[in-house]
Amino acid sequence: MEYKFVRTTCPYCGCGCEMLLEVLDGKLVGTYPSKSGSMNYGKLCIKGWNANEFVHSPDRLTKPLIRKNGTLEEASWPEALDFTAKRLAEIKETHGGDSLSFLTSARCTNEESYLMQKLCRAGFGVNHIDHCARL
């Protein structure tokens, strides 16, 4: 049996509460507030206290999907990545980089947003990158 707590940051609002994820044998079983967090000093809201509950949902996406003949069909990762890159390159080739737009996510990490804007700017020579901060 492996039992541990992992210190991390809450995935919901912009407060940035520090929390401890309770892990038993590779599965999340609970969430607790971190007492050392300078922001929330041992407290969480109702969403934070239950943040672990959606992680192991059976609804999680686990297979890449590609639309074929109008329906989304399961594909392997290499197939999905090759298809994605090929189609992006084709549209750039045919219509120019200006015909592509990218949305990064206010829910993902800094590192991932950095990569999305790098992909957009370096890959297609355009600045058509935005996210929901505007909304």
Binding site: C13, G16, E111, G125
Partner: protein
């Protein structure tokens, strides 16, 4: 935020406007409670009788969308009574004479008529805010999500500069940001006008630096903002879109318009953890990993960069998003071969002076607030000490503009929207948390008790709400939270999502849509039972 969250509890006056803090930012609301306990005066300005109004010393029930008229009124009171801060204005600002001149003939009576706040209350609040030693403005989307959101923000900045309530601890102009990493997505250059660290894309030196680092030819033209991307998908000038972790179909205003835009794409790539309404329209769906399954960093609303740590493996087949984006990039010939998020952060910080001093090793002992220009810099608790980013703070003369779509004979009710305590945005996550779902299983539109009586509605009864864009059916929750003639809806449930009703009137500068003021018609549903079933299933 210009200042830090813990500083809120040491201020003398909390000026809270357009923020339902207890529901949207509960742990910041806790600091507000503590501030109040320590003796701060709490002023809440909100059309709704939100929970914080129970603790407030003063609640001003401002008319929807009239913030500019009200704030100009406050500044007029401050100037008339010499409560402004001439020393701060002289040393730190410019444009004051124009502002003073613009307010000379300003009628408080007119401001009162527009905003619904009495002149007496304006004078009282102006005095407390201006003459307290430390006053802090807190605001959220009640300020920004308007067709005049930028005007609202500039007006608050005017107010803070006029009184010198900025650049010191426990003061400032503090937007409470809504998402775990909306600050970070901006910081990282997820915007069409800036690279990471807010370095502008039109600056040749900046561009040369990034071209050199990325070995690519970059554009000096500001890119498209979201509403423009959507319009261009419809007119065909944009053909493809790659969406990371965003459920645009449910969260953007005017749902029919967004669906049409995304359905027009030749190529729509959606990377997410659940099959969202947006992913259903995609040509490619890429399964990402959630926050508990990957390493990285988030920046919270006080600019604090904090670690996110992997606790468990993603479900088999899902892949951390940084790896997915890198794999796509590599296939396009980009130099995006990374072994860890820490390596990505190091590449970013070398190019971004604001974050240059932050690294994963330092973050082990706690978050760091940017700007942090070097590894021996401790980070920045509050901004604008001694100097503003542009040098001197610039006053803007702002004139009141009414919201673009006000109630009228055909659509006599004012619709406003926001969040509820147990849910988060489009409920892709919280709807799958049994505890949260049980707390708040169905939508509830808040209406005023007197309107409910007039229409013969009781708690849970269904109404049909329609606007110029669409219609929906929702149960109501009568009470005294919203004023007469208005309705408040959350956007958590697809079957009763007010985004179907909202228009696309945008702020001219930020292109932020007006989510707070829209004209609708409300009718009681005659056959309650069958309709109830269809809503509760959603």
């Amino acid at each position: 935020m210009t200042n830090s969250i813990p500083e809120i509890e040491d201020t003398d006056c909390i000026f809270l406007i357009g923020s339902n803090t207890t529901e949207a930012h509960p742990l910041i609301a806790h600091r507000v409670f503590r501030g109040k306990l320590k003796g701060a005066t709490l002023i809440v300005i909100d059309p709704r009788k939100i929970q914080l109004t129970l603790q407030a010393d003063i609640h001003l029930r401002i008319n929807f969308g009239t913030d500019v008229a009200f704030i100009n009124g406050l500044m007029k009171c401050i100037l008339d009574n010499n409560w402004h801060n001439p020393e701060f204005i002289d040393e730190r600002t410019e444009g004051f004479d124009q502002l003073r001149k613009s307010l000379e003939g300003y009628s408080l009576k007119r401001a009162s008529e527009i905003s619904g706040i009495s002149v007496e209350d304006m004078v009282k609040v102006a005095k407390i805010y201006a003459t307290s030693e430390k006053s802090a403005i807190l605001y959220t989307l009640g300020i920004t999500e308007h067709s005049h959101g930028v005007d609202n923000v500039k007006s608050l900045a005017n107010l803070a500069m006029l009184t010198g309530q900025i650049g010191r601890p426990s003061t400032g102009v503090n937007p409470l940001r809504g998402q775990n990493n909306v600050q970070g997505a901006c910081d990282m250059g997820g915007l069409p006008n800036v690279y990471p660290g807010y370095q502008v894309v039109t600056d040749d030196n900046v561009r040369a630096k990034f071209e050199n680092a990325w070995n690519a030819k970059l554009s000096n033209k500001v890119g498209y903002m979201i509403p423009e991307m959507m319009d261009r998908l419809i007119d065909g000038s944009v053909k493809g879109m790659y969406i990371l972790g965003e459920n645009s179909v449910m969260s953007d205003p005017d749902t029919h318009h967004i669906r049409r835009a995304l359905s027009s794409a030749e190529l729509l790539i959606v990377q997410d953890i659940f099959m969202t309404e947006t992913a259903e329209l995609a040509h490619v769906v890429l399964p990402g990993a959630c926050w508990a399954e990957k390493d990285g960093t988030f920046a919270n609303t006080e600019r604090k960069v904090q670690r996110v740590r992997k606790a468990v493996d993603p479900p088999e087949g899902a892949v951390p998003d940084w790896k997915v984006i890198s794999e796509v990039g590599k296939r396009l010939g980009l130099n995006m071969d990374y072994s860890s998020p820490s390596q990505i952060y190091d590449e970013m910080r070398k190019l971004s002076p604001s974050f240059a001093g932050i690294n994963y090793e330092r973050l082990e002992s706690g978050g760091i607030q940017w700007p942090c220009p070097s590894e021996d810099h401790q980070g920045t608790r509050f901004l604008h000490q001694g100097r503003f980013t542009r040098g001197k703070g610039l006053f803007h003369v702002i004139n009141y503009r009414p919201p673009e779509e006000m109630p009228c004979a055909d659509y006599p009710v004012l619709l406003t929207t926001g969040r509820r305590f147990a849910h988060y945005h489009t409920r892709t996550m919280t709807g799958r948390c049994p505890t949260l779902h049980n707390e708040f299983p169905t939508p509830r539109a808040q209406i005023n008790l007197s309107d409910a009586e007039k229409m013969g509605l009781k708690d849970g009864d269904l109404v049909k709400i329609s606007s110029r864009r669409g219609e929906l059916t929702t149960p109501v929750q009568p009470g005294d939270i919203v004023p007469e003639g208005s309705v408040f809806m959350d956007f958590h449930f697809m079957k009763a999502n007010p985004n179907i009703l909202l228009g696309t009137s945008l702020d001219p500068v930020s292109k932020t849509p007006d989510y707070k003021v829209c004209a609708v018609r409300m009718e009681k549903v005659i056959e309650q039972n069958s309709a109830t079933q269809s809503i509760t299933e959603g």
